[in-house]
Symmetry: C2
Subunit: 340 residues, 2 copies
């Protein structure tokens, strides 16, 4: 039994808490200032309404002003905030980082400013003396929070340059219904986790153009996985990571449900970006920011001669053109469907 | 413009006819003895009720006793019968095979007796003097007939050892909304086309156990593609074929709709094979026969030391155990989810 600290009481942080508590671990779930209400509700009712599960007794709940207590005895720290909040939260956590800790990141995306992966953002936040003394692990794979909390059959992959740390995380998480594997290709897992958000929008766009048909989405699925493989390879990771649970597995689940796909559908139906967001009550569509960040990220790789954005990644390129350059959906899709 | 003969007026044969006719080609659509009614209906109404599309004027319709006329001027022959009927139909067509023809096979499965791929069944049916004189091409990829007939965005791959024949077929089929590619890996495409039927059942089973959840299906999707890659490689094809449109693309579409998935769901809900089939009005579930054929096929590969069925292909193995060895769903899924 391990004492695990989870940073962020959003749906994913809370679902991970439930899973790990059910696995017999002691969990400290710490909420940010935006999580006060849900922490209070879980504290009062020992129940999570959105996840629709009870909160096990071995989850201790902590408010944003109780970070020091929350860190007590915790050697494993799971950061489950949104990608946008990653850099800031690391600065908050920094004073509590200690030699021998393992930090697991769950967030999917690239940092808005530096365009660095989530793991790298964590690494860069470590005080000089702690670099190499704290292991950083990335969680990849298709995990819908609501399903995880209900203990559906699931599979995930733990990635770290410190493979023993990845294996240790894998042991903490695994259960008869939660299958795990490990890889050293943390860059590959990070890239897949981030870019699948864009590709889920692309698949949604085609679904919007041709309501409910499957042939177009299936065609895009294969090409999206291929493009993710190319990006991973250009970034120095293993192309095969994109063909596995972190790439195609995660894209599959994202394409079946979620806001990226819904947003893409509205765009495909001819709505403007603003209209689409309005129709979605201005919910956060992660793929929208990710496409912007991804474009700059890929432009930098292109500048180093490692990839040709327009030629090798037509799905990504055209999705960027639609979302951020005002290109018409029809023209973009025509380009995507053109045989080279 | 080419004159193309399509053998079999089932949904797929008819949909391919409509697509090729819309592409400007002359199509001779020949129905087997089981297609008489639909040929009559298309002839009378110039409309296909199940596909819900008009039958273009440049499709000529032929009854089963008009095979000789149907072959007239046709250099490209597309065989679109079910896998089970492939060997028999080739014997019927044999007298009409001629040097310089291209035969495209669409059927997905393995021959019940020989366990050979569809392309190989065609090849073996060629008179000795014509071997090497007729090019055999395989169509792979995610194509739902109803969608194809309606000209949704689609993508397919043409595979042949005669790459020029594959390229020629690709030219006949391609259109602004129908994207094509070619490969020499005809064995890989055949394997994916056949085995995806089993994996769609596996995904359906998990959907049946845990109604409507996505995490389990996403996890299986990644592993199914990995297993298909292993089978392809063991059979001498290119593993990468499984990661593309013929493998993951086709599995994606099959997992979203169709009888294999539905059948799997019923099995996952605890129905027996017979009950499940009864609830589906005894519709043909291709994956059921395919799992039996696939097992024998893999046993033969295993006998040659090229694969370890139980260790390397747990999804396939356990699905076979459930469907054909009376193994309980729970025990089988437990085995599938176990970490090696």
């Amino acid at each position: 039994m391990e004492r695990i600290l989870i940073i962020g009481a959003g749906l994913m942080g809370s679902a991970l808490s439930v899973h790990l508590a059910n696995n017999g671990h002691g969990v400290n779930l710490w909420g940010t200032q935006w999580d006060r209400e849900i922490i209070k509700e879980m504290e009062d009712r020992r129940y999570h309404p959105a996840l629709n599960v009870d909160i096990p007794e071995n989850i201790n709940l902590f408010y944003d002003d109780q970070l020091e207590e929350a860190f007590k005895d915790a050697r494993v720290i799971i950061i489950a905030v949104i990608a946008k909040g990653m850099k800031a939260i690391c600065q908050v956590l920094k004073p509590y980082f200690k030699k021998g800790q393992i930090i697991l990141t769950v967030s999917k995306g690239l940092d808005d400013d530096s365009l660095h992966t989530m793991s790298r953002v964590v690494e860069e936040s470590l005080p000089q003396g702690l670099r190499g003394q704290i292991s950083i692990v990335k969680l990849g794979g298709p995990l819908i929070a609501k399903e995880l909390a209900k203990d559906t059959y699931s599979e995930a992959i733990f990635a770290s340059k410190d493979i023993e740390a990845a294996q240790y995380m894998s042991i903490l998480f695994k259960s008869p219904k939660f299958r795990t594997s490990v890889t050293e290709d943390i860059d590959g897992v990070e890239i897949c986790a981030a870019f699948k958000n864009t590709y889920a929008i692309t698949m949604g766009i085609l679904e919007g153009i041709e309501g409910g048909y499957s042939n177009p989405k299936a065609a895009l699925m294969a090409r999206a996985v291929d493009e993710m493989g190319k990006i991973v390879a250009a970034f120095g990771g293993r192309k095969e990571t994109a063909y596995g649970i972190a790439g195609l597995g995660d894209l599959y689940v994202t394409s079946l449900s979620g806001r990226n796909g819904r947003f893409g559908q509205l765009i495909g139906q001819g709505k403007s970006k603003d209209e689409a967001l309005r129709l979605m009550d201005n919910a956060t569509v992660e793929g929208l920011a990710m496409t912007l960040n991804g474009y700059s990220f890929l432009k930098a790789l292109e500048g180093e001669g490692r990839i040709n954005l327009k030629e090798e990644l037509p799905l990504f390129y055209q999705t960027y053109q639609i979302l951020h350059q005002g290109e018409g959906v029809e023209k973009a899709v025509e380009e995507i469907w053109k045989v080279d």
